[in-house]
Symmetry: C2
Subunit: 335 residues, 2 copies
């Protein structure tokens, strides 16, 4: 269905390490025609990396170009809304990195763009919605392999202050006052996206927070209880300053069997009464290929995107409710 | 300090499989002189097992005996209060199996006995208070090995409807209407005892319940959030109908390190930043020896018992608050 000419806005870690490795395998569908970063060496370096293409320093110069059909925005989140609307105004389709925003008001402004700029395609780069691991978990659950799901426990323990995560901590914008949710939102929206995709809507939330490492934002530790519309109960532990520990797994309990999803190893294990364990490993790809495929299809055929602004808004809403609950010490209902 | 002559009231699983294996190694401190069960073959069988001693069918005949200094009561919990008081009336020291009771009113009646029958010794057989594994965890935490504890996650997944646990499910009294807490209380008081011993008082509770296997009581699944007075947050998962899974571990997070306690293997592992893991295994004994030692010391020297009625009451209160919270959908404060 032909290449889409893509402009990249923001040449940071996400562009370099997450999007580009996917895009470089997708030459049939996307061709990056220009990139933008306000720091020239970063813009130049990325422009060279993707094939020696033009770069600009101001996003307005990028969206004004005629050789671009769509943009992928990977900026500090607080610029998402303005840059998205400006790109839409010039007739470009938009993919924007998660989180959509970090407050309800801005999210609602983003949602309003959907109607205003229809039929331009708008999507959030929530790669977990496309990750082969979770697609496979969904198939196994839908096939009834563990029966009716009644409980989910997601334990995510890591130490963002050390090792491979250190680069995210050193990203200045993550620690500005405006972004109070810090990693709890940034990492958390991936998790609520998966929870909602696999198990349906969240109806109420209760959360407890702790603050361990001031370098990792205002709060870096949260235990959240979610009640799902299905009746299932869910407990999520996001511990971003867990010393010496790296662990990311989902226990899914059904009335016919249990499933353990190892998010790091992309491995699924099913346990049943008096049966041997079954396990399989999926493609390790983190979903970036799938999200660009969806973006391409939506632009070319008009099919709705899976990772819509509306979905991203709901993912965010559950976490903002959690932070609100932690603050007030009371259960928060989500409509 | 001389043997204490002990009468056993209730010759079921607890007497046979939990208390007797400890008592038979403690001949210097206790000698079982008579046993009681209202089902004659059970009484007779246990009397033979412990050395061919006398047995009676009515507990009143046991507590009336002159050759008994103390009794160990292992009956369906709803008899605890009456039998305890009757034994105290005859001047016997009392150890009674947990839970103390399963409602606040009866617990308070039990607490009132402490003052009324002082200086007779009253204690609850909460073996986890004496288990070498948790004593060692306490030493390591008090030594500052993981710094200040800010988070605790206890995951206990098992399937009481199968395997070695099946015998507990087939115990009829556990499923009578009066015992609505079922395994959540029965197993849960062990856990709240350990949490309170290691991390201090619980100040608020929020819980979600599910019901998977009707054979395992009204509710067999609960996720509970505890807020500790220290400020630490705690998440407890008690899943008693977890298909194909047996898993019982405590993750303890401190600002200097993390600890993983494998309750089944009696193993402690400490993880720190950029250091090799440290691990050790403790004695597998489940604490029954320690509880009888404490009972013996209290009777002979008047020292207060560690596992007092007051402690057991507080252990229970946290779980009743959890069930209450699950019912009302709101956070419950504990005074």
């Amino acid at each position: 269905m032909g290449q889409i000419r893509l402009g990249i806005i923001g040449c940071g870690i996400a562009a370099r390490e997450l999007h580009w490795p996917a895009l470089k395998t997708m030459g049939d569908t996307f061709r990056i025609t220009a990139v933008c970063n306000h720091t020239e060496p970063k813009a130049q370096e990325f422009a060279e990396l993707v094939g020696g293409i033009p770069y600009v320093l101001d996003y307005r110069d990028l969206i004004a170009r005629d050789d671009i059909d769509a943009v992928s925005i990977m900026l500090p989140f607080e610029l998402n809304c303005r840059v998205t609307e400006d790109a839409l105004k010039t007739g470009k389709h938009v993919m924007v990195e998660k989180p959509l925003a970090t407050d309800i008001e801005t999210s609602e402004k983003m949602i309003a763009l959907c109607e205003k700029y229809h039929p331009l395609v708008m999507m959030v780069a929530e790669n977990f919605r496309y990750r082969p691991l979770y697609r496979r978990v969904k198939v196994l659950i839908d096939e009834g392999r563990i029966g009716n799901t009644y409980g989910i426990i997601w334990n995510f323990f890591t130490d963002v202050g050390t090792g491979a995560n250190r680069k995210y901590v050193s990203t200045k914008w993550r620690f500005e006052e405006v972004y109070t949710g810090g990693f709890l939102i940034d990492g958390g929206v991936h998790i609520t996206a998966v929870l909602r995709d696999l198990f349906g809507e969240i109806t109420s939330v209760n959360a407890l927070t702790a603050s361990v490492n001031p370098e990792a934002g205002r709060f870096d530790t949260m235990n959240t209880q979610f009640t799902m519309k299905s009746g299932a109960l869910c407990s999520l532990n996001q511990f971003y300053s867990a010393r010496g520990v790296r662990f990311n797994s989902i226990h899914i309990f059904g009335d016919a069997g249990s499933m353990l999803v190892d998010n790091d190893a992309s491995k699924i294990t099913i346990m049943e009464r008096e049966k041997p364990e079954y396990s399989e490993t999926t493609d390790e790809e983190r979903g970036y290929v799938g999200e660009y495929e969806d973006f391409h299809n939506a632009i070319r055929t008009g099919t709705p995107v899976v990772s819509s602004f509306h979905q991203a808004y709901a993912d965010l809403k559950a976490l903002l409710a959690a932070l609100d609950s932690a603050k007030t010490g009371a259960v928060v209902r989500i409509d």
